[in-house]
């Protein structure tokens, strides 16, 4: 059973690792790497939702005549991947500006706004 559900187990573990990286690390770039892991975990979750045992990819070009996996999650995942790269790029440019202005990208130094 557990072996059968492997991708979902991986999703859970990766989500926890990603969240842990975000929460327990101080470095901004490390946090962004954590966000990347989290995004990958969610994408993996979406894709594994659509997998059907013994199915083939939902493309009729030169396909063998077998049952197909569900196509919708793959479409959703494509959108999600684009959003992920857009997010990462914007966050990294923020980090560069922070480095220029503050001289540090540790979370402990990003505390000029508080109370």
């Amino acid at each position: 059973m557990v072996l059968y559900n492997l991708p979902y187990v991986a999703v859970v573990v990766l989500t926890i690792i990603g969240l842990g990286t975000i929460v327990l690390k101080q470095n901004l770039i490390k946090i962004f790497l954590g966000i990347m892991i989290l995004e990958s975990a969610v994408n993996l979750f979406l894709v594994s939702l659509g997998y059907r045992e013994g199915g083939i990819a939902p493309i009729y070009t030169n396909a063998p005549d077998r049952v197909m996996v569900l196509p919708t999650p793959q479409a959703l995942t494509l959108t999600s991947i684009v959003i992920g790269v857009a997010t990462t790029a914007l966050l990294l440019s923020f980090a560069i500006i922070i480095w220029k202005k503050y001289g540090s990208i540790e979370i402990g130094f990003l505390r000029r706004l508080k109370e």
């Binding site: 557990v2 559900n5 979902y8 859970v12 196509p71 857009a86 790029a89 440019s93």
Partner: protein
């Protein structure tokens, strides 16, 4: 104290997420009526062999517009970050 709290939060998250592998069966999705519709009629309706593409651009084309706009938004944001400054524009926002 804080460490215990953090550990507890992570434990609850892990437990909550573990409902996914426990209650969703991998490889045998529960209801498939929408996707069956796509696989059955997608090829004829969108005239595309690749069902994923026909979903991305036809059935859910509006999402793809949003997705492209997300990328455009991010690029605009990056451009805003590295923009050339005007003379004497500096102002302190403290």
């Amino acid at each position: 104290m804080k460490k215990v709290l953090v550990a507890a939060i992570f434990l609850v998250w892990a437990a909550g997420l573990c409902t996914i592998p426990l209650f969703l069966s991998f490889g045998d999705p529960a209801a498939t009526d929408m996707d069956t519709y796509f696989i059955r009629t997608g090829q004829a309706a969108a005239a595309a062999n690749n069902i994923v593409t026909s979903i991305v651009f036809d059935f859910r084309g509006f999402d793809t517009l949003g997705e492209s706009v997300v990328l455009f938004t991010a690029v605009t944001g990056v451009a805003l970050m590295f923009r050339a400054r005007k003379e004497g524009e500096e102002h302190e926002d403290e």
